[in-house]
């Protein structure tokens, strides 16, 4: 799935001759894969925190700490920590893959899968199952 960047893998000008006049530099796919997967990670954690706060009072207390007395409640922690995890995962994957080629279809489907699970975990009819 991950290989060293080798220019010439795509025949972009062959597919779209109008690009020839733009003199575009070739770029590795690693940074794009990092963006796709990290977006999925961010949304997955958003969902994990949403459902997790229903299940675990300890997690809910941790998430509540992030409101800084502003009256936002546990949503402050869910949003803030998920955003931090998204940004950190993006940075780490970018550092790892900035000069690599990564199979983009695989990266996209991994990101999509995590995003859909995360979205499900933010759905009230799902997390209400765990209310006691």
């Amino acid at each position: 799935m991950i290989t060293d960047f080798k220019p010439g893998m795509y025949d972009d000008v062959g597919v779209a001759p109008e690009l020839a006049g733009l003199d575009l530099a070739e770029k590795p796919d690693g940074p794009a894969a990092a963006a796709m997967i990290s977006a999925g990670i961010g949304i997955l954690f958003l969902g994990i925190f949403t459902t997790g706060a229903v299940i675990s009072s300890g997690l809910k207390s941790f998430l509540l700490w992030w409101e800084w007395g502003q009256g936002v409640g546990p949503l402050a922690g869910k949003a803030t920590v998920a955003t931090i995890i998204w940004l950190v995962s993006w940075l780490v994957l970018w550092l790892l893959w900035r000069n690599k080629d990564v199979v983009l279809k695989t990266a996209f489907y991994i990101g999509l899968g995590m995003g859909l699970v995360g979205a499900l975990f933010t759905f009230p009819l799902f997390f209400d199952i765990f209310h006691t």
């Binding site: 795509y10 025949d11 972009d12 000008v13 597919v15 779209a16 109008e18 690009l19 020839a20 006049g21 733009l22 575009l24 770029k27 940074p31 794009a32 963006a35 796709m36 990290s38 977006a39 961010g42 949304i43 958003l46 969902g47 949403t50 502003q70 009256g71 936002v72 409640g73 949503l75 402050a76 869910k78 949003a79 998920a82 955003t83 998204w86 983009l104 279809k105 996209f108 999509l112 995003g115 995360g118 979205a119 933010t122 759905f123 009230p124 009819l125 209400d128």
Partner: protein, 191 residues
């Protein structure tokens, strides 16, 4: 004609930033959709891409602005507990027909004092407040991909489709927030 500071912030959160998001999404989607081989000249691509870059980043910025103002400014006014008196959690909402100084919008909805309203909070607000945070994440990632590949998206239909999926995913998350936000502000306005 005047607006309270709370009304001004709800307008900024929903109407100003929400409208900007929708406009940028419409323009961005049209731009992305038309990035197909053979449709544009080289000069046309240069002109089109500059506009697309601005559009996708405006959409991402509007999404961040909407969720941050919504979560940190408007939402505390919605959820503050004003109505508890002794053992009665909703005493301050007795006979209320709308939220007021002793009955916050959340108290009002959960109390069911003015019809069957509690599901507006339990389903509508609970879904909106969480899933909407997916919108800026997806919009930012999509904007990055558009700028990173630029005109090369024209030659890679599958990648362009993947970016569109992320772009539309951001919109879908924002629609949940926007639609329930509009309904909730109708049923239980921030006062």
């Amino acid at each position: 004609m005047e607006l309270s500071s709370r009304e001004v912030w709800t307008v900024i959160h929903g109407l100003v930033l929400g409208t900007l998001f929708l406009l940028a999404f419409a323009g961005g989607l049209a731009g992305l959709w038309s990035l197909k081989p053979g449709l544009m000249t080289t000069a046309g691509i240069k002109e089109r891409m500059g506009r697309l870059y601005v559009g996708v980043w405006v959409m991402a910025a509007a999404a961040w602005g909407a969720v941050i103002t919504g979560t940190w400014i408007v939402y505390p006014w919605y959820r503050v507990n004003l109505s508890t008196v002794g053992e009665d959690a909703y005493a301050g909402c007795a006979n209320a027909i709308l939220p007021n100084a002793t009955c916050s919008p959340r108290d009002f909805l959960k109390s069911d004092v003015s019809g069957a309203t509690s599901e507006w909070h339990a389903f509508g607000m609970e879904w909106k407040e969480h899933v909407t945070w997916a919108a800026p994440i997806l919009a930012t990632a999509a904007a990055f991909l558009v700028v990173y590949y630029g005109p090369r998206l024209i030659a890679r239909p599958w990648l362009r489709a993947a970016v569109i999926v992320m772009f539309v995913g951001a919109f879908a998350a924002a629609v949940v927030g926007g639609a329930f936000g509009a309904f909730l502000n109708k049923v239980a306005p921030i006062v």
